[in-house]
């Protein structure tokens, strides 16, 4: 995510819609993709993204520039998405064969299949872990945040980040152990 100038943030906080559009353009891809991975559903990700930007708009006047804007947005997004995912019952544990990404359409172009395949595999893998663990895995493995940054974004202790990642990975290992020899991710 690119940095946004203080001037744009100040104008956006004063209700300047064009400045807020700049904020949206800079952060929406990150917000949507983090939300998508945590709630693991496109429709829910859209709803979460909308709500996150309404929260950002409403709270921007209280943003004090003491912490990085990036961390602030991470925090709002991850926390809102985790709560949404916890409340939402649509997220169910995928069967092991689904977790392999077998849903890819075979007739499509090879590159597209590969991309779809990977995206589906990731989606199915993330279904295996709870929203708290999912947020840590997404921020670490996809967004590349450090443990310290994840702790700040989720407002939790750094050792909680460690334990959530450990449990998530143990679970992913266990899933894979049971489908050894069939894993689609092995081919990635």
């Amino acid at each position: 995510m690119q940095d946004i100038s203080e001037d744009i943030l100040t104008r956006a906080s004063q209700g300047d819609i064009q400045a807020f559009e700049e904020v949206y353009k800079t952060t929406s891809s990150f917000v949507y993709n983090v939300a998508l991975r945590i709630v693991n559903n496109q429709e829910d990700a859209k709803e979460v993204t909308q709500e996150v930007f309404i929260i950002i708009y409403n709270k921007l006047k209280n943003f004090r520039f003491e912490s990085a804007f990036k961390t602030w947005v991470y925090r709002i997004t991850a926390n809102y998405a985790i709560n949404f995912a916890k409340k939402n019952s649509r997220i169910k544990t995928a069967p092991f064969d689904e977790a392999l990404g077998e849903g890819a359409v075979e007739n499509e172009a090879e590159a597209h299949i590969e991309e779809e395949h990977q995206s589906q595999a990731v989606e199915n893998l993330l279904k295996e872990i709870n929203p708290d663990q999912r947020a840590c895995v997404v921020l670490r493995n996809i967004e590349g945040l450090s443990y310290q940054e994840i702790a700040k974004a989720l407002n939790i202790n750094i050792n909680t980040v460690r334990s959530r990642l450990k449990r998530a990975r143990e679970k992913l290992m266990a899933v894979k152990q049971q489908v050894r020899g069939l894993t689609a991710a092995d081919t990635l």
Binding site: G15, I17, F20, E21, Y24, S28, S29, Y32, N33, L36, Q42, K46, T49, Q50, F53, I54, Y57, E115, Q118, S119, A121, V122, L125, V137, R140, N141, I142, S146, Y147, R162, L165, K166, A168, R169, E170, L172, M173, K176, T183, A185, D186, L188
Partner: protein, 161 residues
């Protein structure tokens, strides 16, 4: 064996994420050279829990999101009336208890109260003195015998009597 468990915990977290302190990382690397079980475990962790997330492409953001957000913000701005907001701000300025004006008001009330009490006390003393004076006048005219009984025999008493 216990050391292997400890190292496996690190392999699942700090080691694979590059968060391990250099000294412990060196120790773990040396352990991996001599422990085939931990070495296989390290490879499995990387292959099964980290590699699937490599190069995950970002999904494009649906355009409908910004349209909805903009509409909702515009709706909020229509409801927003700067004049009303200004009046509310002024009201808050005067109605909200601020420490200094509140303290000054309390002090002023205390002083006013004290002054009122003092005035009442002075008036009461004056009335009492006047009453005593009238009684003494009555006594001096022989309308009361109390003054004789209460006489101290001082020169000033004799002067007035």
């Amino acid at each position: 064996m216990k050391k292997c468990e400890y190292f496996k915990d690190l392999l699942l977290t700090d080691y694979i994420d590059g968060e391990l302190a250099q000294k412990i990382k060196l120790e773990l690397d040396n352990h991996l050279l001599v422990c085939p079980d931990c070495r296989v475990f390290a490879q499995e962790v990387k292959k099964r829990t980290v590699q699937p997330f490599y190069n995950v492409s970002a999904q494009p953001v649906p355009g409908v999101i910004w349209e909805t957000v903009r509409e909702r913000i515009a709706g909020k701005q229509e409801q927003y009336n700067p004049l009303e907001e200004f009046i509310r701000g002024l009201k808050n300025l005067f109605l909200l208890p601020k420490p200094v004006p509140v303290l000054a008001s309390v002090m002023l009330m205390f002083l006013a109260g004290s002054a009122a009490l003092y005035t009442i006390q002075v008036n009461q003393t004056k009335e009492k003195d006047q009453g005593e004076f009238l009684v003494s006048l009555l006594d001096s005219n022989g309308w009361g015998s109390q003054a004789d009984n209460n006489s101290f025999g001082t020169p000033i008493e004799h002067y007035f009597l």
